[in-house]
């Protein structure tokens, strides 16, 4: 190693030390790689699929994932079954990099989006969006608040810890008309961007904005009335 570092530099010793250290580490890595025990550990991560256990191991999780988004048990059962069958067909594509569950959830996402697309085609375009009862009556003709939005306390995030709150939340979600709920679900639960949702649901930008706005106004009002105003009056809820 002497030819690398001329003796005149004060850092020579240090550099040589570093190089030796590097050599030490890389030989260590090589050794580990060649050792059958370590290779086994690496290989184990690439797990195999076990289709016979899918329903038992992942059925409920996939079902919950789907039912929260689709708000329809039968639809959720359907997409879960489709997911397993699609996974079975596409078994070869499973690379083992992701876990079996993550892989299945990925397939499920596609199935859910397909379902939303299918469902949106079943609603005639003429039923849009004015029939989805407008919440605009919270404003007067001058665009001022008619129903004052509630203040929701100092730290509304606290209520997220309460089980009872989620019951109210679910009821409020359930009160949204189908199309509003679908759009809201794709945006907030599935986290899709506006453009994707527009293509999927075949709505214009303006319509999408209106639908999301109405969904949010309705949810906020529902929580205001059924949780924050009543809850605060009763004290503990």
């Amino acid at each position: 190693m002497r030819w690398v570092v001329p003796d005149t530099t004060p850092y020579g010793g240090f550099l040589i030390l570093t190089m030796e250290f590097n050599l030490f580490i890389s030989s260590g890595v090589l050794l580990m790689y060649n050792c059958p025990k370590w290779r086994g550990a690496v290989k184990e991560e690439q797990q195999d699929l076990r289709p016979d256990m899918w329903v038992q191991d992942h059925g409920d999780l996939l079902f919950r994932y789907a039912v929260v988004r689709l708000r329809d048990r039968v639809a959720a059962e359907e997409v879960v079954q489709e997911t397993f069958l699609a996974a079975l067909k596409g078994r070869e594509q499973f690379k083992g990099r992701a876990s079996e569950r993550t892989w299945l959830v990925g397939i499920l996402k596609h199935k859910i989006i397909d379902y939303f697309r299918k469902r949106s085609r079943e609603i005639p375009v003429t039923a849009l969006p004015s029939s989805e009862d407008s919440p605009e009556d919270i404003f007067d003709n001058n665009g001022k608040w008619k129903t004052e939005p509630g203040a929701w306390g100092d730290d509304p995030a606290n209520v997220l810890e309460k089980k009872e709150f989620w019951k109210t939340f679910k009821e409020c979600m359930g009160g949204l008309p189908g199309r509003l709920a679908d759009v809201f679900s794709l945006r907030e639960f599935e986290g899709l961007g506006s453009e994707e949702i527009r293509n999927l649901m075949n709505v214009s930008t303006t319509n999408l904005n209106v639908l999301l706005y109405r969904a949010r106004v309705r949810l906020a009002r529902c929580l205001d009335t059924n949780w924050f105003r009543t809850g605060q009056k009763e004290g503990e809820k």
């Binding site: 289709p51 397993f84 079975l88 665009g143 004052e148 929701w152 961007g193 906020a220």
Partner: protein, 89 residues
């Protein structure tokens, strides 16, 4: 100055895309001057947090909001998977 109704729409939109500068300024001005609109803005942000939390809770191992496959559907899906397995072997 924009009205509360216009401000409310812009608030909702701002959750989905970055508003153009003019609208952003108009909304900010309105929120500074208005007593009630900041409440609605807080409500919208709360809603966003709550929805994020809701999906996470729903996917937990512990059934919440207690949803699981019913016994007969579970069996039906199992049979479908087994049938699929056999036909692909």
């Amino acid at each position: 100055m924009i009205t509360c109704e216009e401000a409310a729409r812009l608030m909702s939109e701002s959750l989905d895309r970055r508003l153009p500068l003019g609208q952003r300024m108009a909304l900010r001005m309105h929120l500074l001057m208005c007593k009630l609109c900041p409440r609605f803005w807080r409500q919208l942000q709360f809603l966003r947090n709550a929805t994020g939390r809701f999906v996470k809770e729903a996917e937990r191992e512990v059934p919440f909001p207690s949803e699981s496959l019913s016994m007969d559907v579970r069996e039906r899906i199992k049979r479908a998977v087994v049938a699929g397995l056999k036909s692909s072997d």
